[in-house]
């Protein structure tokens, strides 16, 4: 019998709504959950929880305050401040799925300050990613094509009538929508002509009519005096686009190696919604296939997931510079992806050097005055009588209640005060191979 890949998950005796499934949902749609977030998800049940994650929720006071100061950062010249600002926003957001989607699109439409050289433009692109993250992909693509940072990044100002620059046309077809093999070199050349005159002047999108080639073109089989929007319409109408996007979203949120049938089913659904990202993500996250235990902890956490996950799940007070530095050291320097292809995710996140950085970070995060005081608070809120309960607490927090076999000896060796044992148990858990998986 053919599997219904998008059938809605309903808890049952064989597939109960439990700590493992709730933890899986929260990790994939956000960051490692705090005990409170997990308890809330368990109370809500899967459908209500997904509904809440996908739809709007009021942002926290801290995020609103960070939004207030954003213009002064965007007007400055220090990209590091914007990076720190973003990290703190990720830490305090009450809309983790939106935050994760913005991170996804930042990797998808990878644009780097290294070439853009304008903090304000990078900030505006970041806002664009967020505002379209769960909206219509059609409108998103049209927004990205007009985004001044993207124009600068892919040399839009050099794309003029008679001397088309193909950078943006090539990337929109290859990396943003269709993928290799679904277009021709001729499509690229013709699409480039359609985007001539789509420029950036003094930080604003500017259509330069006299530099635009308004002649006849043919892109993906569509003919006429095409401009950039017409090309985007042609792309959206091409079935390869939904397959390309569905595969990328499934790899990012469901499993690193999705079944082709799952991709096809999700692509079909996405197309049926008119590329409505909110509806598409809702359907995916509420599906039986998403909650299949075979997909639990099969993705390697990105540095941002790892670092912010620790800070959020333990409610640690970590400064913006420390968050930004840690993610950069682990290989994810936000706002400066390594190439137009974004980061090499999943297995690409880990090598001997970055793993060492993660181990050191886990230890460091639990040291210092802030963390020491925080461990005391944790002990106040969770009366942990002895070693057994401390280990249980660490396993609940980090492994959905399961105690990894590989950590048993380390847990047995815990000694010292309750605070010392809690610190050590958490350090062991956070630096374990199992915790690197989402």
């Amino acid at each position: 019998m053919k599997r219904d890949w998008l059938a809605t998950y309903t808890p049952s005796a064989t597939a109960p709504w439990n700590r493992e499934r709730a933890g899986h949902l929260l990790r994939r749609t956000g960051f490692s959950p705090s005990p409170q977030e997990l308890a809330r998800a368990l109370d809500e049940g899967p459908q209500a929880c997904v509904q809440r994650l996908v739809q709007d929720e009021h942002e926290s006071e801290r995020v609103l305050e960070l939004d207030d100061i954003a213009p002064s950062i965007a007007n400055g010249e220090e990209i590091e401040l914007l990076r720190q600002w973003w990290c703190l926003r990720l830490k305090h957001t009450r809309r983790p799925l939106l935050a994760r989607m913005a991170l996804f699109w930042h990797d998808h439409f990878a644009t780097s300050q290294v070439k853009v050289q304008d903090v304000g433009l990078m900030y505006r692109q970041l806002r664009l990613l967020e505002s379209h993250a769960l909206g219509s992909f059609d409108a998103f693509l049209k927004g990205i094509a007009r985004d001044p940072a993207m124009v600068r990044w892919l040399d839009g100002n050099q794309n003029v009538k008679g001397r088309p620059n193909e950078n943006f046309a090539r990337e929109i077809l290859e990396l943003f929508t269709l993928g290799l093999g679904n277009y021709t070199e001729r499509d690229i050349q013709e699409a480039a002509r359609a985007f001539t005159g789509w420029h950036e002047r003094r930080g604003q999108f500017a259509f330069q009519a006299r530099l635009h080639d308004d002649g006849e073109k043919q892109v993906l089989g569509v003919c006429g005096q095409l401009d950039g929007d017409d090309v985007i319409e042609a792309i959206i109408g091409n079935p390869a686009c939904s397959r390309f996007l569905a595969g990328k979203l499934l790899r990012a949120f469901a499993t690193p190696d999705p079944d082709p049938e799952w991709i096809a089913a999700f692509a079909k659904y996405m197309q049926s919604t008119g590329y409505d990202m909110m509806a598409s993500m809702h359907r995916l996250l509420a599906s039986e296939a998403f909650f299949d235990p075979a997909h639990f902890r099969t993705r390697i956490k990105s540095p941002v997931e790892y670092v912010l996950g620790i800070a959020r799940s333990l409610d640690l007070k970590v400064a913006g510079p420390a968050l930004a530095r840690a993610t950069s050291d682990m290989g994810q320097r936000l706002l400066e992806p390594p190439s137009v292809d974004g980061w090499e995710t999943h297995r690409g996140w880990l090598d001997s050097a970055t793993m060492l950085v993660r181990l050191n970070y886990a230890k460091r995060a639990l040291q210092g005055n802030h963390s020491g005081a925080h461990l005391d608070t944790l002990l106040d809120h969770h009366p942990l009588a002895g070693k057994k309960e401390i280990v249980r607490f660490a396993c609940d927090l980090c492994f959905d209640g399961n105690e990894p076999q590989s950590l048993r000896t380390a847990f047995e060796d815990l000694k010292g005060s309750k605070r010392d044992m809690l610190r050590e148990a958490l350090a062991v858990a956070l630096s374990s191979p199992e915790y690197q998986l989402a």
Binding site: R62, E65, D68, S72, N75, A319
Partner: protein, 609 residues
């Protein structure tokens, strides 16, 4: 009423920090001391002081009653004067100043204030009198932190100004502890050491009241030694090498580093990894690494604090680092203080040619290499000029770094940095052509900035030449962005350079340069020889105003750096502003001594309005 409350806070002083800050210890300590019954003492009220040849001034000291065994000591003198001066200052404190408000609301301070108020009232003393009694003529503490070899040890001695008042206070503390039995100390809390009655406050705390002193310690052997010192001051703290330097200070601190010397050295870098820092602080770092003694003296005046710190080793600065010592030179005739919005000056006096020659001894090789590159670049920019021979070697007098608050700036950018200037005195007898070469170098440097801007696709700095009061100025300015608001550091300055009356001036704005030229041209006094010290002067209220100009930038930085809410970050910045407003002018000087160096500072105090 307000003054009394504040006095309660401050007058607790060193003793409060030691004793009352921990309520449990405070109660125990005070109770036992209060139980002292003066007539039972061996000296019957005259006690130790009656040792032959002991003078009245020696009786009134506490430092001569403590053994010179532990590495650190602190002494506070003349409680009455101290309480009066600090009290007057606190009384005038602006109640709206954030620091005053924080002190008002500090739980620990309030707890201590209330505790002391109770004891004072029960002893028939005003709060001011109680505080003055607790400091007495002299209060001295010697201590050793906990080490691998053993627990922390301390010994405190108080030479009272009013023995009767002190005894009344001690008795009240003792009574509040419930240790009195029929008006006497309970027998199980009494013991004799060296024929002296000692009160056992706790397992680790002993107190002893002799006729002219009160002792408190956690080490019996220290107490024995104190009781045996009598008038043999050669065994007391006053035998410290540095003691005579600070003997007359209101508050003094001394340290003979001994075994702590290696600890201090291990906590300091071998060398500074920044060439400028190496030049500025290299001699201090060297002295600190070899330090044997550190002494600090603080004098409390009505409107200022004066401090001097002396750091001394066994030998002076190594010969290869002598180039780091300040040298004498010509002092400019004009006064920077007259500049509008003047903020402060750092003045560094070196033989710069020697610094360059000894660069590899002064800083790490990589930094020395950078210095050579810098020199080469400057020589190339100026063309046909040897930067070291023709320029550095000509500098006679302090190189000064000036800053001033920017006033009347239309459409102020954010952050609004103060105007800054670097001034190097080259002398009037410049060789032919040097002035032109310097201008050429400035023009080239500005061109490079413009080129960099152009390469980055930004508005490029525009270069120009102007004349002002007969002097040629080379300057650059960024065009204002006409398409929309654009703020930022690049638009906050217009670098300008001029050579005026033998002084090379590099300023961050052309307006500031013109102000400096006005001061030079209008100066009435004549140049004088400067003294051999590095100096800093800073007007703290103006610094507060500059920070206030950048309040939002500071708050944003704090929110990001500390993960604080807007309110928390704002409160922190306000606290910083409040603290700066309590200060007046800060004057600081660092000069070498035969065996190390000496820092002197004077901080004016205001009421924070």
């Amino acid at each position: 009423m307000r003054s009394v409350e504040w006095l309660g806070t401050v007058g607790l002083g060193a003793l409060t920090i030691l004793v009352l800050a921990k309520p449990g210890i405070a109660a125990a300590t005070g109770g036992e001391l209060g139980a002292y019954s003066a007539p039972q003492a061996r000296d019957g009220g005259a006690g130790q002081a009656e040792a032959a040849g002991t003078t009245q001034s020696e009786i009134q000291r506490a430092t001569n009653k403590l053994p010179a065994e532990l590495p650190f000591f602190i002494a506070v003198r003349d409680g009455e004067k101290l309480v009066q001066q600090v009290g007057e200052w606190l009384q005038g404190l602006d109640p709206n100043n954030p620091i005053a408000q924080a002190m008002d609301q500090h739980a620990g301070l309030n707890q201590a204030r209330i505790g002391l108020l109770g004891i004072a009232a029960a002893s028939g003393l005003s709060l001011e009198e109680a505080l003055a009694t607790l400091v007495g003529n002299e209060l001295a503490l010697t201590f050793e932190p906990e080490t691998d070899a053993g627990a922390a040890r301390f010994m405190l001695a108080l030479a009272p100004s009013d023995s009767e008042a002190l005894d009344r206070m001690l008795r009240q503390v003792y009574r509040s502890m419930g240790l009195l039995q029929r008006g006497q100390i309970a027998a199980d809390h009494l013991r004799a050491i060296d024929e002296q009655q000692v009160v056992v406050l706790s397992e680790e705390l002993l107190a002893c009241r002799t006729g002219n002193a009160l002792f408190l310690t956690n080490d019996e052997s220290l107490l024995k030694k104190s009781l045996q010192i009598h008038a043999d001051f050669s065994q007391s703290l006053e035998s410290y090498a540095c003691f005579s330097e600070i003997a007359a200070g209101d508050i003094v601190f001394g340290a003979k580093l001994g075994s702590y010397k290696s600890l201090l050295a291990s906590g300091l870098p071998q060398a500074l990894d920044n060439s400028l820092a190496s030049i500025l602080f290299g001699s201090e770092l060297s002295a600190l690494r070899g330090a044997e003694h550190i002494s600090l003296r603080i004098d409390v005046k009505g409107d200022s604090l004066q401090a001097s710190m002396d750091i001394a080793g066994k030998q002076g600065l190594p010969s290869e680092l002598q180039a780091l010592l300040p040298v004498e030179g010509r002092e400019s005739a004009w006064q920077a203080e007259k500049l509008e919005g003047y903020l402060g000056t750092i003045a560094v006096r070196r033989n710069w040619a020697d610094v360059f020659a000894e660069r590899e001894a002064i800083m790490p090789l990589a930094q020395a290499g950078e210095l050579v590159n810098f020199s080469g670049t400057m020589s190339a920019l100026m063309g046909a000029v040897d930067f070291i021979e023709d320029f550095l070697a000509r500098i006679d007098g302090p190189i000064r770094f000036l800053a001033a608050r920017r006033l009347d700036v239309a459409d102020p950018p954010s952050p609004l940095l103060p105007a800054m200037a670097l001034i190097a005195p080259l002398g009037l007898d410049l060789p032919a052509g040097l002035e032109q070469r310097i201008r050429a170098g400035a023009t080239s440097a500005l061109s490079i900035i413009g080129l960099e801007d152009a390469q980055q696709g930004r508005d490029a700095i525009l270069m120009d030449i102007d004349r002002y009061r007969g002097h040629r100025l080379v300057y650059g300015a960024y065009p204002r962005d006409v398409s929309g608001p654009k703020t930022g550091i690049r638009y906050n300055f217009s670098p300008a350079i001029a050579l005026v009356e033998g002084e090379l001036i590099v300023a961050s704005t052309i307006d500031f340069l013109k102000q400096i030229i006005d001061q030079i041209e209008d100066a009435q006094s004549i140049a004088e020889d400067s003294f051999a010290a590095d100096t800093l002067s800073l007007q703290l209220p103006r610094l507060a105003a500059v920070l206030e100009d950048n309040f939002e930038s500071l708050r944003v930085s704090r929110m990001l750096d500390e993960d604080e809410s807007r309110a928390q970050a704002g409160a922190w910045v306000n606290g910083l502003l409040g603290l700066l407003r309590l200060g007046g002018n800060l004057e600081f000087a660092s000069r070498p001594t035969a065996l190390g160096f000496e820092w002197k500072a004077r901080l004016g105090l205001t009421t924070g309005e």
